[in-house]
Symmetry: C3
């Protein structure tokens, strides 16, 4: 991975969300650390790649069954390096968009999220993700 | 603030709009210069931090009363430095998204905007913002 | 054009899509190479600047007639330089938003796209663009 830290993280997210949107669930789970946590305020937290992959596969299967194309957009990104050791904290907004066959795109969720990323080989992995869905308590 | 000019501005906007969306109205107003102008084609221009804070507080109060979470997204950003003295012109698109409790996100406004920013200490301030709302005359 | 490759491409897209959204159809067509291809899965591929300009003008005329403001948003960008010679491959999501006079913004299309860009003088040109619209076969 080349470019500044900010660009590396931007492109990490582009690739990461594309994997999920394309249904490449194992590669998506591999963007988390082995013990990575995916914590959303609308579900029980998922811990580790297997849990993340299993839950994501279930959701992908539903979406495929419904003939929906899903796209995750991230934006309004801030990147704060914690130290020189390769730990980075991010904050961002994300929304998901769903398009049924022959239908118009609909925004299905709007969220605020915070990640902790760690450097791994020539890239990055998510150690902890906390997503808060708008419109929930 | 670190990173290239473009990244500084991107993250300035991420933080700036997050302040507004979180209802931190005084901190939001402080992202403008003392005599900063916030000029939208759908309202009288606001001049200075106090006017900006008062008008924004009014809007935030409405949104809170309605139980809405609001998110501002900026994108399609161009950054043009005017000179070496720290004056920068930007152009971008922005939309706002609103989610009611238990509801689906709706896009409430689509806009085109131009800002003039000035360097201040280790960051940036808005000296002039002009926002044009789509669908208005 | 200054800044890193990634920033150059980001701002190229911001300017490029703004030209189309503003109805500056010839300047938009000039962001493609002379023999550039604009290939969407919902229409016959357009080859060369004249074809691109003519088809785009037709669409712009419709939109103006309907009193609509259109905005194209690109995001989730990845930029991969092919070589040192100035050939670059990109992948991104894009959506278009339409606002009628007095109306609320609607997302009219969600897409996945891949471009091949080539360096030209101090900027970039699109040599090949492939856009896949969600919800189509």
């Amino acid at each position: 991975m080349t470019g500044s830290l900010f660009q590396q993280i931007q492109q990490f997210y582009a690739r990461q969300m594309r994997l999920l949107d394309n249904g490449a669930v194992e590669e998506w789970a591999d963007t988390f650390t082995e013990d990575g946590v995916f914590d959303q305020n609308v579900a029980e937290p998922l811990t580790g790649r297997v849990d993340i992959a299993v839950a994501s596969q279930k959701r992908v299967d539903q979406i495929v069954a419904e003939g929906i194309t899903r796209r995750h957009w991230l934006g309004m990104l801030e990147v704060d390096p914690e130290d020189e050791q390769g730990v980075v904290h991010t904050r961002y907004y994300a929304f998901s968009m769903a398009t049924e066959r022959g239908g118009r795109p609909r925004i299905t969720a709007s969220t605020y999220a915070e990640d902790t990323l760690v450097r791994h080989e020539d890239g990055w992995l998510i150690r902890y993700r906390r997503v808060t869905h708008d419109g929930t308590d």
